[in-house]
């Protein structure tokens, strides 16, 4: 296992322009050896551009990249050390599974037996030992992506780049392959970067997530940090589901929303400033009778959406709280007999409220 606190990849002030468009803007990042990193963001945020710059496929306009202690900023692709997997698999259609996986090994002029052993080992590892003589078109999407993964790993690169590898697969295959890639990473300890726009994928697979928007890093952190402590309204909104409530800090610890006042942690935010209070739908509590707490509200249920393991309630309260979502368990909805038009008492727990200053 490589030392996990050692920086393997260092990106310094990386900028990429496409004509007038700034795809990545003065971005710096450090990735530790053996880490599983996800670049997460909406399409056009620069995550794929960043990946392709690291690979040298679309070189950066400016900035340095250092890999394993070596400055690779101006190296051509073929002199860099990485394996890559694309959304489209990019398997060579006229070569068999075996020939595809062996392709990189043959370039190293290894002895035949050694190549054979390595290929069969890898295909065993990804669970495809029987498909060796088949052509890519004869395999399912999930199988093809496993072959692509073996091909990328065959030459034992120091860095594995995954460009939306699961996006073309259907949901069931996607979740099983998610686990497999994660297990494979744990097994091999190879530093891995996954680019995705799917937050669930990022949350479930990454050691650390790099959330990007408009060519900049919004936040870097573990999945739990990102989810429970978003650094900006963008991250709060992009990861998971979030309620936003507009208000004003009246005094330390108090935010007024029209006629209502909420108690929350207003640390570092000056008085009289406009803020956005956020709360996750699953953090909203629902009481059957009125309780004495400053953060309770009486709301009306507009509609219910059944989402399998829980219900999402669309609720409407006093001015400023007209559009809220709350997630309740199926059991609770049935016990309290909640239907559209029901009236509820909800609580917005102080310790679950995050506030962000409003950008004017």
């Amino acid at each position: 296992m490589p030392d996990s606190n050692q920086v393997y990849l260092r990106i310094e002030n990386l900028t990429k322009h496409f004509g007038e468009f700034v795809a990545v803007s003065d971005l710096s990042l450090e990735i530790n050896s053996g880490e599983f990193i996800c670049f997460l963001g909406p399409s056009g945020c620069g995550k794929t551009t960043l990946l392709r710059a690291i690979a040298g496929l679309d070189p950066q306009t400016a900035g340095r990249i250092n890999q394993a202690g070596k400055d690779i900023s101006d190296l051509p692709v073929s002199e860099r050390d990485f394996g890559i997997v694309f959304q489209s698999y990019a398997l060579f259609p006229n070569l068999t599974v075996y020939q595809n996986v062996a392709y990189g090994l043959e370039n190293q002029r290894l002895p035949r037996q050694e190549i054979h052993k390595r290929v069969t080992d890898l295909l065993e590892l990804v669970g495809l030992p029987e498909q060796i003589e088949k052509y890519p078109a004869q395999l399912s999407g999930g199988q093809q992506q496993r072959v692509a993964l073996s091909r990328a790993l065959a030459t034992s690169p120091g860095l594995l780049l995954l460009d939306e590898p699961l996006s073309a697969l259907d949901a069931r295959v996607r979740s099983s392959l998610r686990l497999e890639i994660r297990a494979l990473h744990q097994n091999l300890g190879i530093t891995t970067i996954l680019v995705t726009h799917d937050q669930e994928e990022a949350l479930s697979m990454a050691d650390r997530i790099v959330v990007m928007d408009q060519g900049r890093i919004e936040q870097v952190g573990t999945p739990i940090e990102i989810y429970s402590n978003p650094a900006s309204p963008f991250v709060a909104d992009f990861i998971g589901v979030m309620n936003f409530i507009h208000g004003e800090v009246t005094s330390p610890g108090l935010v007024s929303i029209e006629e209502k006042t909420l108690k929350c942690n207003t640390e570092n935010i000056p008085e009289k400033s406009n803020v956005r209070v956020t709360v996750r739908p699953e953090d909203i509590l629902c009481h059957s009778e009125l309780i004495e707490s400053p953060n309770t509200l009486e709301v009306k249920v507009k509609s219910l959406e059944f989402l399998g393991s829980f219900y999402r309630l669309f609720i409407s309260g006093p001015t400023g709280f007209e559009e809220l979502m709350a997630d309740l368990s199926i059991k609770q909805v049935h016990e309290q007999n909640i239907t559209p038009e029901s009236t509820l008492n909800i609580e917005l727990p102080t310790n679950r409220l995050l506030i962000f200053p409003e950008i004017s």
């Binding site: 002030n13 900028t15 322009h17 004509g19 007038e20 468009f21 700034v22 690979a55 040298g56 496929l57 070189p59 950066q60 306009t61 400016a62 900035g63 900023s73 101006d74 190296l75 051509p76 692709v77 073929s78 002199e79 860099r80 990485f82 394996g83 890559i84 694309f86 489209s88 698999y89 990019a90 060579f92 259609p93 006229n94 070569l95 392709y103 990189g104 370039n107 190293q108 052509y135 890519p136 078109a137 004869q138 091909r151 990328a152 065959a154 030459t155 690169p157």
Partner: protein, 568 residues
């Protein structure tokens, strides 16, 4: 520079070092661009400057053009050419559309046979149609009486003959346009209870619109630049293409030849630009999720269209059949007994059997060298990394030949390669110049075929290969070329067939040692030996047909060996 964001002053831009592969590809790009410059751009430039000179090579400005427009005999050819080309375009479009519709959108029986028959004219030089027409409607023709007072020698003959040989070109484009129909559009229209005629005008026709337009431009260009048909059957009806030939070969007036060919270049270039514009629209119509259309049977419609296709097919076959019959007749119309006398080319003027074997040699050279060169060129355009501007130049250079009529190219080659100071002058009068000229003449269509095949490859193949440290030539040989092999063979076959049948460019460039079969047809017809001319034209047809069959067999063999992966 506008349109780009500039970096702050203290930031150093990154320049990636070139790998060995990058260097190889750049050298390749550079070589091909140089080749195209020598084979297309420089000759055209020489042609342009020649048109501005007098006989002694002195610059005279637009004097030659003034002279041209002051000579009604020359000037009237413009209207004649336009009349013929537009008439043929209209007639062929209507027939090809109905025929193509019957092939793609109905369950009419024998569709495969009709498709095959429609391709017959491709095997023959355009001259064959004209020769055949002489036997049908000429002064001693079988059906002379049908024409009454009018004569086949003139616009009627040119139009009918041209319709024959351009028909498959129009049909192929229209069939392609009609085959890309999306069944879901028809289902949606039917679900909305749209009447059949309205579906035709709101779904079918708009879907094929660009294909029809494109076919129209192609036909227009082919006809206006063709000189085989008007040469044989045009009589005293002058068109631009025959004027070029007369000025250069007949009167040795090279400067006026240059002027006329530049005038001929103009409509060809305009049609080319219009076609590119139309093609760009066409692509946007195709959705990757389209569901293929499966026509339903409709006895009345299918029956009517069957009769229509039958009539067209009979006309196409009778054009060929008459030429075949006439070539075996001992002495038309006095001795109708059959013999091989007309195939005894060695006792006639026009090059003899040697011309035929020269043609085959040239066609093989074109197929072998041309397809390799063109595939490599399109590979560089599509797959080389970086250096966008060099790739764009190569692509534009590859598109240019389509806009240049064969006659114009041929004349430009005379001026360029025959120039006393040209170090490449040794090529003049050799087989080499014929091969170069023919490859260039048919470069663009081949280039586009290869490009289409290459575009179907995953764009990340190169990225993956680079990450696996595979040298570029290895991926080219192990993946790119094998996957594109069918397209590669199509190009080789296309070049072979066209090299066999082409007249326009090579007619200015052959020497007594490099006489070609298609030119021999022309010369024998000129000398009044019409039956031997028909016989030689048919030798080309037989050879092309055999080659087509061989190509089909070879393609099938290779597919069974190397394209296993295509089947699931």
């Amino acid at each position: 520079m506008s349109g780009t964001v500039s970096l702050p002053a203290n930031v150093v831009p990154v320049r990636i070092r070139l790998s060995r592969d990058d260097v190889i590809l750049r050298i390749g790009l550079f070589c091909l661009i140089t080749l195209l410059a020598i084979a297309v751009v420089f000759p055209l430039y020489t042609l342009l400057s020649k048109s501005l000179e007098d006989i002694d090579g002195k610059y005279v400005g637009l004097q030659n053009f003034r002279e041209y427009f002051e000579t009604p005999a020359l000037f009237s050819s413009i209207t004649n050419s336009l009349t013929v080309a537009i008439s043929v375009a209209l007639i062929v479009l209507v027939i090809a559309f109905v025929y193509g519709y019957a092939l793609t959108r109905t369950r009419m029986p024998l569709r495969w046979l009709f498709r095959g028959i429609a391709l017959i004219p491709i095997l023959a030089p355009s001259l064959l149609a004209a020769i055949s027409l002489i036997y049908w409607f000429g002064n001693q023709g079988v059906l002379r009486s049908w024409l009454g007072e009018s004569s086949i020698y003139g616009p009627i003959g040119i139009i009918i003959g041209s319709c024959f040989w351009v028909f498959p070109h129009a049909l192929m484009i229209i069939v392609t346009a009609l085959s890309t129909a999306d069944a879901r559009l028809y289902e949606a229209a039917e679900a909305l209870r749209t009447p059949k005629w309205r579906i035709f005008f709101t779904v079918t026709l708009p879907g094929a619109k660009y294909g029809i337009l494109s076919a129209g431009f192609i036909v227009f260009t082919l006809v206006i630049t063709d000189f085989g048909v008007p040469k044989v059957i045009g009589g005293r009806y002058n068109v631009l293409a025959t004027d070029v030939y007369k000025q250069v070969v007949g009167q040795q007036n090279f400067e006026m030849g240059a002027v006329v060919s530049l005038i001929l270049l103009l409509p060809a270039v305009l049609a080319f630009i219009a076609d590119r514009w139309v093609q760009r629209r066409q692509i946007a119509l195709l959705s990757p999720h389209a569901v293929p259309f499966q026509p339903k049977s409709h006895p009345l419609r299918d029956g009517i269209l069957f009769v229509f296709c039958l009539i067209v097919s009979i006309i196409l076959i009778s054009m060929l059949a008459m030429a075949v019959y006439a070539s075996f007749v001992t002495f038309w119309p006095y001795n109708l007994s059959l013999s091989l006398k007309n195939y005894n080319f060695d006792v006639m003027d026009g090059g003899g059997w040697e011309a035929y074997f020269n043609s085959i040699r040239m066609a093989i050279y074109c197929a072998v060298f041309g397809s390799g060169l063109i595939f490599f060129g399109s590979y560089l355009v599509e797959k080389a990394r970086g250096v966008t501007w060099l790739r764009t130049i190569l692509h534009l250079g590859s598109m240019l030949p389509l806009a240049v009529p064969g006659l114009v190219l041929g004349i430009a080659y005379i001026f360029f390669f025959n120039h006393p100071e040209n170090p490449l002058g040794f090529l003049y009068g050799t087989m080499g110049i014929l091969v170069i000229c023919t490859i260039v003449h048919f470069y663009t269509v081949s280039h586009l075929t290869c490009l289409t095949a290459l575009k179907q490859l995953d764009p990340e193949f190169e990225a993956v290969s680079l990450s696996l440290k595979s040298p570029v030539w290895r991926t080219f040989g192990k993946v790119t070329l094998p996957v594109c092999l069918p397209a590669f063979l199509d190009v080789a076959s296309y070049l072979f067939l066209n090299a066999m049948t082409t007249v326009s460019a090579v007619v200015f460039l052959y020497s007594p040692e490099t006489m070609l079969a298609s030119v021999a047809v022309l010369n024998m017809d000129d000398a009044g030996d019409i039956a031997p001319a028909a016989a030689m034209a048919l030798m080309i047809v037989y050879t092309s047909a055999v080659f087509r069959v061989l190509h089909a067999l070879l393609a099938r063999f290779i597919n069974s060996r190397t394209q296993v992966w295509r089947t699931r």
